[in-house]
């Protein structure tokens, strides 16, 4: 056999450059986030769930229930109350997509490629989450633009208003680790979707997203006091239109920290074990 004649273009340390840099994972995550954005540009119709869907929800609830819910004030009175709620609902629902997409990537073998590369374990997961932040942001922007067009104003000042938007985005980025974990744990994308909806409906409907918690039936009222979404919605309203702020905000931040502390490590472990 021929001896290993290493030509200059042959396998060699031609480039082992930044591979071992301690912050290499940042660059890797950004590269993988870029991948998600490229994919969105390739399939813009995949954005339907963060564009048309939220608008439909907002308009539907506004005009169908507006009259009944606001007690005669009509939809104009209901809008300031509803918009923060729909923001939360839409953004929280769009976190589902992160888990479904990850599961799909695994099924298609793309992650086999990533897992055989010398990159940090967290990079593909952080990349997926960061890439999806674009989707969450899209749904926030779309809803705000629609809201403004319908006459919504930040009654508590623009600064607090923007803070509210940042809060719901940050909450989504924490919550999505649950779906990342489930997306890696469950066998099929349908499974992920099934479980996610099972969890999502009590979370969103057992909360003051659409109506004041006091109008909910008894057991849902109790539940809505535990439900983290209730606190998020209250904090959002506090920031966007004024009202109680401190307690809901603190509870929401605590939940966010808890979600990340529990589910990010679980997700990373599931990623490592997934075969």
């Amino acid at each position: 056999m021929s001896t290993a004649a290493l030509s200059p273009t042959g396998p060699a340390a031609q480039h082992a450059v930044r591979r071992n840099h301690p912050f290499a994972w940042v660059q890797q995550s950004l590269t993988l986030a870029w991948r998600n954005i490229v994919r969105i540009r390739q399939n813009p119709e995949a954005l339907a769930d963060v564009t048309f869907q939220p608008i439909i929800f907002l308009v539907l609830f506004l005009f169908v229930f507006g009259g009944a819910v606001s007690g005669g004030g009509g939809w104009r009175d209901y809008l300031p109350y509803l918009l923060p709620g729909v923001l939360v609902q839409s953004v929280v629902f769009s976190t589902l997509g992160t888990g479904v997409a990850l599961n799909d990537d695994f099924a298609k073998g793309v992650f086999d490629r990533f897992r055989s590369l010398p990159i940090a374990r967290v990079s593909p997961l952080i990349g997926a989450v960061l890439g999806d932040a674009i989707r969450y942001l899209t749904s926030i922007v779309i809803l705000m633009v629609t809201g403004f067009a319908l006459g919504f104003r930040f009654e508590n000042g623009v600064g607090y208003g923007l803070l509210a938007l940042l809060l719901v985005l940050a909450f989504a980025l924490s919550l999505c680790w649950v779906w990342v974990w489930l997306g890696l744990k469950l066998k099929t994308a349908q499974g992920v979707q099934g479980v996610a909806f099972l969890v999502m409906f009590p979370l969103t409907f057992g909360s003051p997203i659409f109506v004041q918690a006091s109008t909910l039936p008894g057991f849902l009222q109790t539940w809505s006091k535990i439900n983290p979404i209730s606190y998020l919605v209250d904090a959002m309203r506090g920031l966007m239109i004024g009202g109680d702020l401190q307690k809901p905000l603190l509870v929401t931040l605590a939940w966010m920290a808890g979600l990340i502390a529990v589910f990010a490590p679980l997700a990373i472990r599931a990623y490592r074990r997934r075969t």
Partner: protein
Amino acid sequence: MSTTNRPAIVAEGLVKKYGSTTALDGVDLTVPTGTVLGVLGPNGAGKTTAVRILGTLLTPDGGHAEVGGYDVVREAGRVREIIGLTGQYASVDEDMSGRRNLVMIGRLIGLSRQQARSRADELLERFELTGAGDRVAKTYSGGMRRRLDLAASLVGNPSILYLDEPTTGLDPHARNGVWDTVRNLVLDGTTVLLTTQYLEEADALADSIMVFDQGKVVASGRPAELKAQAGKQSLDVRPAEPGHLERVAAIVAESVGTRPTVDVVNALVSVPVSDGTSMPVVVRRLDEAGIAVTELSLRLPSLDEVFLALTGHVAEQESTAVLEGAGR
């Protein structure tokens, strides 16, 4: 061979179970640096499982393996720095263009944007994908996708390369391209482990061959040794006129000294031979008798025949046979 004589890949007693299926049942293998090992086996033999363990995608349930001197479980990160893996099923991102797929991998392993782009161009060129480079991989044919996948595993200039059935589904031209690529990589010092269902491919590329069956290594050796173990090559003659079958059979029997089998349906006369020396004799006699033939070939034993010889059973067909039996 000089410098380090440490083998590139060493595995001892690899075991992998999936529930009640034992995919690998104590596999030992050694691949010297700079050589090609061909792993041959029927469906379900455990080839992919072995590749995935050596590629750090799976952890074994028993045994251990070292790749480039690093343990595949404890030092998986190190192993990933020196390997390239082309799995059995393409693992490219179908929603991105071929070029972007390659650039992404270059960026992931730490190339600068500039380096990643030129590496991508170079690989697209090498795998004749330049024209399709900017198209979404979804629109590629199966063979193009496989070539892109192969290119993807070469972005990092791996010194050890795993190819899981790299030519399944490729047309002859593309298959030859892959073979050439493998040969060139080996010339550059790359160690290659490839799995295949084709004895011909293992014969063409591998320095040594291992035959897997039901998670075990049932035979191993240099291609020539294996073929000798597997026994005979086969001399096939197909007369132009099906009516000449009997006469051809007689001539072949006379020249080779063994009674051939006559396949009336396919109008084919075949006889096992140990080498090609009887071929000219057959040709001359047929010519003398004025019999035209449409095919005259010396065929390597097929995988089925190798299997039959090495394992005493026909590869993979057992379950079908059972089903047929039950149907009666």
